[in-house]
């Protein structure tokens, strides 16, 4: 077993609310600089930049591609995968359950698709800032079906946190873990930065004790308590 310092909650320019600096090579460089071994790339309702980050990372750092899905209850769930293909599959499902594009709300920022060298190659015009009409249970089930690690993002937050919105963890909801936040560390909760700018990457992290950071091993490590959340503010 070895220790893996992970920030499983990092956004890119595909999240309209993220800074333009959140392009794949810069993100990877910053993650290395702050000593991360593992990064989860999750944009709001989209996985379109995850491949580029995986490519930009090369063998320097491990990247789990994924997305941060907004459920019909307005809860954010992180769905992380071993490879980009199932993440893109879930993205298709999510896209099918978003409201129609309509007017682009500029207030939420442009959602940019980037290449591994950091160049901007397109814009996602779907309303990624909206909620899907999938329930928390449906998202967890569909993501698990495709091999995901499913985590409740910033669970304590009233805005989009599972505990804030739904009061308590629903009975029977198949979650692999909960990310704390906002605020200090919480026993039993994972920690992720929810970075929307480079300086936030790795400021909240979790150290996992696993052989290799596969979804399956991370799931087992969480279940067996082989992790330690940390703050580096």
């Amino acid at each position: 077993m070895s220790l893996w310092r992970a920030d499983l909650h990092v956004h890119t320019v595909l999240s309209g609310c993220a800074e333009p600096e959140m392009i794949p090579p810069a993100l990877v460089a910053r993650a290395r600089e702050v000593g991360l071994d593992l990064v989860g790339v999750v944009d709001h309702n989209a996985a379109g930049n995850a491949v580029a980050v995986v490519e930009a990372a090369g063998s320097n750092i491990m990247v789990l591609p994924g997305l941060e899905v907004e459920t019909r209850e307005s809860v954010h769930l992180l769905c992380l995968f071993d490879a980009p293909a199932p993440a893109l599959e879930i993205q298709e499902l999510v896209f099918a359950h978003l409201p129609p594009a309509g007017r682009i709300a500029r207030a939420f920022g442009a959602c940019r698709l980037a290449a591994s060298d950091g160049s901007l190659v397109g814009e996602e015009r779907r309303p990624l800032y909206m909620a899907t009409d999938l329930s928390v249970e449906e998202v967890a089930r569909e993501a698990h079906h495709r091999g995901a690690l499913v985590l409740a993002a910033h669970a304590h937050r009233r805005a989009h946190g599972l505990l804030g919105v739904l009061g308590f963890v629903p009975a029977g909801l198949a979650l692999d873990g909960l990310e704390s936040g906002p605020g200090g560390l919480q026993p039993g909760f994972l920690c992720g930065s929810d970075a929307h700018r480079l300086s936030e990457i790795g400021t909240r992290y979790t150290v996992f004790e696993v052989e290799t950071p596969s979804v399956e091993e991370l799931r087992r490590a969480i279940a067996e308590g082989r992790f330690r959340p940390g703050l580096s503010l």
Partner: protein, 111 residues
Amino acid sequence: MTVIEAAESLGLEVLTGPQGLPRTITGACASDLLSYVMARAKPGYLWLTIQVHPNVVGVAELLELAAVVITDGQNPEPATLEKAREHGVTILTTPDPTYAVAGKLYGLGVR
């Protein structure tokens, strides 16, 4: 005012928990954040929300609310209705948005 009186005045449809209809309404709250409702609502309150998740029933039971009004034509999930029947929680629905229902209730004297 009782739940049945409110239901008749506002044209609310009773989906579950008819045994709760004679209960007296002691107050009301309108929120879609369950954590907020758990912190603020009191026994006998009527709760207006667009949330349809089964946890709504858990909160209503925990706080001994008089009833839940699911507004804006939102359809409760089957699991929500099942849980409400099982726990005897009264769920009412209306096509009207929360704002309108709250205004009418306030006008009827629910403060």
